[in-house]
C-alpha cells in the first residue's frame, strides 16, 4: 500500500497543472490583498471586516475557499480519476496485484494530502502577505466575538479556522471523487461538479425566502446543510463565542464525508473491472 501511495503521489506531481496550482498561490494572495486593501477604505476600523495583518489569513481565505480552492479540487480530482479511468491509463496500475478499490483509495488519500499541503502553503503565504500589505495593530476584532483579540489569540484563531476549512475541503473532495468515479466523460464530471457547487450555493438562498415559514432554528439548520454555505459563513459561526451551531455543522461535514465515500465504494464495486 505504501508503494501504491508513493506512485500516486509521484504521478500527481508529474502533472504540470498541480505545479501551476501551487505556483499560483502568491498571485491569488496578492489579488485577495489588493481587493481587501480597497475594501479597508470603506469599512470602519472597529468592525471585524476590517483587515489587519493578523486576520488577513482568514479574510483572504473566505472568498477563495468557495472559488479557487473548489476549482483546484475539481481540477486535481478529475485529472487523476476520470481522465485516468476513461483513457485507460489506470490499466497500467491494475496490471499489478492491486485491486481497483485499493487504487482509488490511494488516490483519495493522496488528493487529500495534496490539498492539505496546499492549505499549509496558503496559510504560511497569507501571513507573509498580510504583514507586507496590512497594518500590524495591537488589538483587532474577530467575527462573533465581543472582546478584542491580540495577535497570539488571532494566530490560534487562524489555525482553528484553517483546520475546519480543511475538514470542509475533505468533504468536498469526497463529493467530487464520487462524481468523478461515476461520470463517463471528463466534461460531464466537471459540469456535474460545478452544478453541485452552484446548487449548494443556490438552495440556501431560495430557502431564505421561506425564512418565516420554518422558524429561525430550523432555518439555520437547513441553511447549513449546504457544505459551501458552511465554508462561506459556517466556519466563522463555529468559531464564534457562543458556538451554538458547532455541533450541527460538524455533523453535516461528517455526514457528507461518510455518505459520499460509501457511495463511491458502492459505485466502483458495481463497475466493470476490465475497463
Amino acid at each position: 500500500m505504501k508503494q501504491l501511495l508513493l506512485s500516486e503521489w509521484i504521478r500527481l506531481w508529474k502533472r504540470k497543472t498541480t505545479w501551476i496550482a501551487f505556483l499560483s498561490i502568491p498571485l491569488i494572495l496578492i489579488a485577495a490583498a489588493k481587493y481587501l486593501v480597497s475594501q479597508n477604505n470603506v469599512v470602519s476600523t472597529k468592525l471585524p471586516q476590517y483587515t489587519v495583518a493578523w486576520n488577513f489569513p482568514v479574510m483572504g481565505l473566505a472568498e477563495m475557499l468557495i472559488t479557487v480552492f473548489q476549482g483546484i479540487i475539481i481540477l486535481i480530482v478529475v485529472f487523476s480519476v476520470t481522465e485516468e479511468i476513461r483513457t485507460g491509463q489506470i490499466r497500467m496500475v491494475l496490471l499489478r496485484s492491486y485491486s481497483y478499490t485499493e487504487i482509488l483509495f490511494a488516490k483519495y488519500i493522496v488528493i487529500i494530502g495534496v490539498i492539505l499541503l496546499f492549505f499549509t502553503v496558503y496559510f504560511i503565504g497569507s501571513h507573509i502577505v498580510g504583514i507586507i500589505f496590512f497594518p500590524m495593530v495591537d488589538k483587532f476584532s474577530l467575527f462573533y466575538h465581543q472582546e478584542l483579540a491580540t495577535p497570539i489569540v488571532g494566530l490560534m484563531y487562524n489555525v482553528r479556522f484553517y483546520g475546519i476549512a480543511c475538514l470542509t475541503a475533505i468533504a468536498i473532495i469526497s463529493v467530487m471523487f464520487f462524481i468523478a468515479v461515476v461520470c463517463r466523460t471528463t466534461t460531464a464530471a466537471i459540469g456535474v461538479s460545478i452544478g453541485f457547487i452552484i446548487f449548494t450555493l443556490g438552495y440556501p438562498t431560495m430557502l431564505s425566502y421561506f425564512h418565516e415559514l420554518f422558524g429561525n432554528e430550523l432555518f439555520v439548520k437547513l441553511y447549513f446543510t449546504s457544505i459551501t454555505m458552511i465554508q462561506f459563513e459556517g466556519i466563522t459561526r463555529i468559531l464564534g463565542e457562543s458556538g451554538n451551531e458547532a455541533g450541527w455543522n460538524y455533523s453535516v461535514i461528517a455526514i457528507y464525508i461518510s455518505l459520499f465515500t460509501v457511495s463511491t465504494f458502492i459505485a466502483m464495486n458495481k463497475k466493470d473491472y476490465f475497463i
Binding site: T17, A31, Y35, T67, G71, I74, L75, V78, F79, E83, R184, T185, T186, T187, A188, I190, G191, I194, G195, I198, G202, M206, Y209
Partner: protein, 254 residues
C-alpha cells in the same frame, strides 16, 4: 454544405450528454414554472420585486436558468465540440475529407448556436403560454423603469429581452470556442472558461452580466446599462476572428 450540417448535428446528438443536458434543462424550466407559480412574484434584482401577470412573466424565468446555461450547459457542449473531438483525434477523420476548414468551423459554431437558440425559443414560448394560463390577466403591465406597456408592447419587450439574452449566450459560445481551441485538453478548457467568466468580474464590474443575466438585461432595457451590448458584441467578434484564424492554421496531427 448540407452534408456538413448533417454530420455535425449527428456527432453532437450522438453524445449522450447532449440529450441528457437538454432534458435536465427542460426539467429545470418546469421546476422554475412551479417555483414562480407558488410565489407569484418575480425579481428585477436582489431588492426590487414585482407581481407576475400574463404579460410580464416570461423574462423572470431566465434569472436562475441563465446560471445553468452559462456555467454548465454551454461550456459542456462547447468544450466537447471544440476540444473533445480534436484532442481525442476523432476529428482527423472529418479533416481527411476535401472540405474547407473555415467552412467546417463555421458549421460547428452554427450548430452550437442553433441548439442554444432553439432552447431559448422553446423557453420563451413555454413561459409565455404558462404566463397566460396561470397568472392573473391584465391589459397593461409595467416593467423595470418602464410604465404601462400594452399587450403587444409587452410581448415585444419580453421578446427583445430574450434576443439580448441570446446575444449574451452566443458570446459565451464564442469565448468558450476560442478557449477550447487553444487549450490542450477538455479539463483545462472547461475550467479556463469558468475562470475567464468569473475572473472578468475582477477585471471590471461591467462583466457582471454573466452572473446576473436577467438583472443586467432589465438594466439594459430600463436604460441603466449601456455597456452590455457593446461588450457582448466585441467579445463575440474578437473571439470569432481569433478562433477561425487559429482553426485554419492549426497543426492537426499533434
Amino acid at each position: 454544405m448540407k452534408n456538413i450540417w448533417i454530420s455535425e448535428l449527428e456527432r453532437v446528438f450522438k453524445r449522450k450528454k447532449t440529450i441528457v443536458g437538454i432534458i435536465i434543462y427542460l426539467l429545470l424550466v418546469g421546476f422554475q414554472c412551479l417555483f414562480l407559480w407558488s410565489f407569484g412574484v418575480g425579481f428585477y434584482n436582489a431588492e426590487e420585486a414585482v407581481y407576475l401577470n400574463n404579460l410580464n412573466a416570461a423574462p423572470f424565468f431566465l434569472r436562475e436558468l441563465g446560471i445553468f446555461l452559462i456555467f454548465i450547459l454551454i461550456p459542456m457542449f462547447v468544450v466537447d465540440s471544440f476540444n473533445g473531438e480534436c484532442s481525442s483525434g476523432a476529428y482527423q477523420l472529418i479533416l481527411t475529407r476535401p472540405q474547407d476548414r473555415a467552412k467546417l468551423f463555421i458549421v460547428k459554431w452554427a450548430v452550437q448556436a442553433v441548439i442554444i437558440l432553439a432552447l431559448l425559443a422553446v423557453t420563451w414560448v413555454v413561459t409565455t403560454l404558462f404566463g397566460n394560463l396561470l397568472f392573473p390577466t391584465v391589459t397593461e403591465t409595467p416593467f423595470y423603469q418602464i410604465e404601462g406597456l400594452q399587450v403587444l408592447q409587452a410581448y415585444g419587450y419580453s421578446l427583445l429581452f430574450y434576443v439580448i439574452a441570446a446575444l449574451v449566450l452566443l458570446s459565451v459560445i464564442a469565448l468558450g470556442g476560442v478557449i477550447s481551441t487553444i487549450m490542450p485538453n477538455t479539463i483545462i478548457s472547461y475550467l479556463a472558461i469558468i475562470g475567464m467568466l468569473v475572473g472578468a468580474i475582477y477585471l471590471s464590474d461591467h462583466f457582471i452580466f454573466y452572473f446576473s443575466l436577467s438583472d443586467s438585461i432589465f438594466d439594459v432595457l430600463g436604460g441603466e446599462n449601456h455597456s452590455l451590448l457593446i461588450l457582448v458584441f466585441l467579445i463575440m467578434v474578437i473571439s470569432f476572428i481569433i478562433n477561425i484564424t487559429v482553426w485554419k492554421k492549426r497543426d492537426w496531427m499533434g
